[in-house]
Symmetry: C2
Subunit: 199 residues, 2 copies
């Protein structure tokens, strides 16, 4: 009979024709990230990405409608592995560890690229809401959960809403980073978690 395998069809919806090249996709995303990290946003045009990825420009335009979409994807492709949220210890301990990781990441390629992506979002759509929806929202929800656990286990004294604690803490960290001030995680942690939060 040689009927088309139903199961296959449901998972990979009819792969007729030449399949999309995973190698090109990865090369494009990595080139975009590397250009943002190295040369900055201004040097990260579609032409430059195509050249660096050794790929035709049309291949990029085929899969990404705007530069904004490409740069967000390039960021997500690298960010997936970074800034893990799991760990052991009290809520406060896990939060402190993540804050330390976040501060270190901001002071690296990752921070430069994140700024570039945000700038591109603003230039394109007026705000960085797209970046929030595709990246920050999940992180914020996960960290709010950890903050709530910290309140439950007594390691975080403040009884403010977890989301508000997150906004003040990470908003403060991001604000200082964006405007070129050195990070001061301890002062913000003390303020946002309640004066003398337990370890």
């Amino acid at each position: 009979m040689a009927r088309r395998p139903i199961l296959r069809r449901m998972t990979l919806p009819a792969a007729r024709g030449r399949p999309r090249s995973a190698a090109s996709t990865a090369a494009i995303l990595e080139a975009a990230y590397a250009l943002m990290a190295g040369q900055g946003l201004a040097a990260t045009g579609i032409d430059a990405v195509a050249r660096a990825a050794q790929v035709s420009k049309m291949t990029i335009y085929k899969w990404w409608p705007t530069r904004e979409a490409l740069l967000i994807d390039a960021f997500l492709h690298q960010a997936a592995a970074r800034l893990p949220l799991l760990g052991e210890g009290s809520g406060a301990a896990r939060l402190r560890r993540h804050v330390a990781d976040y501060v270190a990441a901001l002071d690296s390629d990752f921070g430069r690229v994140q700024r570039a992506v945000i700038a591109e979002c603003i230039a394109g759509g007026g705000s960085a809401a797209a970046f929030f929806e595709r990246y920050l929202a999940q992180r914020r929800a996960a960290l709010a959960r950890i903050i709530a656990e910290g309140q439950a286990d007594g390691s975080i004294l403040s009884d403010a809403a977890p989301a508000a604690i997150y906004d003040a803490l990470y908003g403060g960290l991001f604000y200082r980073h964006l405007f070129g001030m050195p990070p001061q995680p301890d002062a913000l942690l003390a303020l946002c978690l309640g004066q003398a939060a337990k370890p």
Copy 2:
């Protein structure tokens, strides 16, 4: 003898030749602001500004080295009148009033333009440190002073460093604004000023 008047020379350093046109300067700054507010950053090229201000492109390039410098100036030109810091009442009351003004301003032309300027700074120099130096730093210092007064008069309960309170409060507000979340000034104020700050 008809010597050149010394005093004049010290205040206005030798005004020989045709003087710079104040009307053109104002028209350029206002056109740049209006374009950012109306059409967004992408539509605010030097050519477009020159056209809108009815000015030769060379006049812009003569006085501003980069688009970043022009856009910051255009922002400052409008921002000077906004967000007054003076007022009456306790430190907490003045701070609350400013927070309300700030939130209202962000949700207007002013907010869009501020985002555009920040994006341009990132695209140009990698960070928005230039914007901080020319605008935010003074505001931050003035508000930290008001916060310190609030701690002194007992209207702000938290004894954290005023700068840390500022960073958490305005960082949180800015973070929510930048990423498209609705403002929640009351939650952040309660958290940052100490649970139940007096009026």
